[in-house]
């Protein structure tokens, strides 16, 4: 059986300028931040990012890596407005495909099921239709005759997700209360890179949680990255909660200073700087 383990930098070296990259998690929850940090160390740019946005979106936007963002929101949860996303929007620095949360999910489901679109009862009547002139509608062929938005598939070149445990083959496990949509991101993508808090033997997986916790299937995974603390500073229940104090530092420090202080070195340097940063 193929060993898919690699480093975060190896995973990112497989990404190319202009790719469409889906990022798992939700807001400031279980985001693959170590992979995002590796992306920031690389030169990869001009990305279309597909995300239930959090600091992943904020950091990549602040670093000028996003050409287009596909998202229903960007938030830090305990801090409602993502500061760098806000700045990027108010400066006109990124193109936005703003869709509703359900439209976004239906788009991922369409991609995972290799459908060109799925009908969704969301978007009609709202300005989502105005700001996305390419969106089309579809009418039910049955007696109800209802009209829906035909949400196009959100097919991804690559997906980046972070889970609690994984084996070397790419079976990924979540142990917190919410899987978010990480399985769908992997299924919707041509390649998927899964970072995990801890790499374990396959036999260990079902000791930590029931079979239902085996969220990500190895048939959808290209690379596995062991990254303890890899969701920091977002939450990764039950391994750790959100680092609220550091998130505040992120939200209130001008980006150039934050990037210089915390993102200049490798992941180990980041952790050392972040741990030293709480004074």
């Amino acid at each position: 059986m193929r060993d898919k383990t690699m480093t975060a930098d190896e995973a990112v070296s497989r990404l190319r300028d202009g790719m469409t990259v889906g990022i798992g998690g939700w807001g400031s929850r279980r985001k693959p931040m170590a992979l995002v940090r590796a992306l920031l160390r690389s030169e990869v740019s001009d990305l279309t990012v597909v995300s239930y946005g959090g600091p992943d979106v904020g950091m990549l936007a602040a670093a000028g890596r996003i050409r287009r963002l596909v998202a229903p929101f960007a938030t830090l949860d305990s801090i409602p407005l993502e500061p760098h996303f806000r700045t990027a929007r108010e400066r006109g620095d990124l193109d936005l495909t703003e869709v509703d949360e359900a439209m976004f999910l239906w788009g991922l489901q369409a991609a995972a099921n290799r459908l060109p679109f799925l009908p969704v009862r969301a978007g009609l009547g709202s300005d989502v239709m105005r700001v996305n002139p390419g969106l089309r509608t579809v009418t039910s062929p049955y007696d109800d005759g209802e009209t829906f938005v035909a949400m196009p598939a959100l097919r991804l070149d690559a997906a980046l997700v972070h889970v609690n445990r994984a084996d070397r083959r790419g079976n990924g496990q979540y142990l917190g209360p919410d899987p978010y949509f990480d399985d769908l991101f992997c299924e919707a993508a041509d390649t998927a890179y899964v970072s995990c808090e801890r790499l374990v033997d396959t036999a260990e997986l079902t000791k930590a949680g029931p079979p239902q916790s085996l969220l990500v299937g190895r048939h959808t995974v290209t690379g596995v990255i062991e990254a303890p603390g890899g969701a920091h500073f977002t939450s990764c229940a039950p391994d750790y909660g959100r680092d609220e104090e550091f998130q505040r530092v992120y939200a209130t420090t001008p980006w150039p200073r934050f990037a210089a202080r915390y993102l200049g070195g490798d992941e180990r340097a980041y952790r050392a700087a972040a741990d030293g940063g709480r004074s």
């Binding site: 407005l81 929007r89 509703d100 969301a122 709202s126 209802e146 209360p177 919410d178």
Partner: protein, 239 residues
């Protein structure tokens, strides 16, 4: 027990929005609606479902009674067994609501949250709104970005059901001409004129404007001793 505060009347007005809803999820956004939903669940609406704010359905004492991760929450939205009370950065007379951005969408003056789930909510399950500071900046002639769908844009939307708007001044429904906003109640101490002055458009006014009822002694005890002993509600609505 001292007389109820404005914040406590707001809690009651919010709680009343879920009266008679039956076995549906009460989805409150914002602090005072959250207190209101718990109060309703603990008193006159015991069938309501509540979440812990994340992925679990819980009873008022915190006992887990179900699992509701986001993916299932969205099915609950589209299945209709939910009554959400959302916030609104802007809202117009027809009930169009904006939480996305202020100014032109192409390049906003102020980027806010994004549309979030407002489009899917308004087309699928009952929706009310909570505005902690009733002002002309919120109650506008035209919203800059329609996130939540109002009555004038809901033709053919079979499950569209806007209920009411609760603010720190009073309660409005959509019983005005052409299903526009209509003032139906003010909180004690508030005048109809005050609401008019704080609203950019001219709202219809019910023939008899009610006064928000005061909490019962039992309700007041629940609010003050059980649900919000730290009085966080006073930080959302003063007075």
């Amino acid at each position: 027990m001292t007389e109820a505060t404005r914040a406590e009347h707001c809690v009651i007005a919010c709680a009343e929005e879920w009266r008679g809803d039956g076995e549906v999820l009460a989805s409150p956004m914002g602090l005072i609606p959250s207190i209101g939903a718990r109060l309703a669940r603990l008193t006159f609406a015991p069938e309501l479902l509540l979440t812990d704010g994340e992925a679990l359905l819980v009873t008022p004492d915190g006992t887990v009674e179900g699992w509701l991760p986001y993916r299932r929450h969205l099915t609950l939205v589209t299945g209709g067994r939910r009554h959400v009370m959302m916030g609104a950065s802007q809202i117009d007379r027809h009930g169009n609501q904006n939480i996305s951005c202020v100014g032109p969408w192409e390049r906003p003056v102020r980027q806010l949250l994004g549309v979030r789930g407002a489009p899917v909510n308004t087309l699928n399950n009952p929706v009310s709104y909570w505005v902690p500071r009733h002002s002309r900046r919120v109650f506008v002639e035209r919203v800059d970005m329609v996130c939540g769908v109002g009555h004038d844009r809901a033709a053919g939307a079979r499950y569209h059901a806007l209920r009411r708007v609760v603010s720190d001044l009073g309660v409005l429904d959509f019983g005005g001409p052409g299903r526009t906003m209509r003032l139906v109640a003010v909180h004690p101490g508030v005048t109809v004129e005050q609401v008019r002055e704080a609203t950019s458009f001219e709202p219809a006014v019910a023939d008899e404007v009610a006064v928000t009822r005061s909490p019962t002694a039992a309700e007041l005890r629940l609010i003050r001793e059980v649900i919000d002993p730290g009085n966080a509600r006073a930080r959302e609505v003063a007075g």
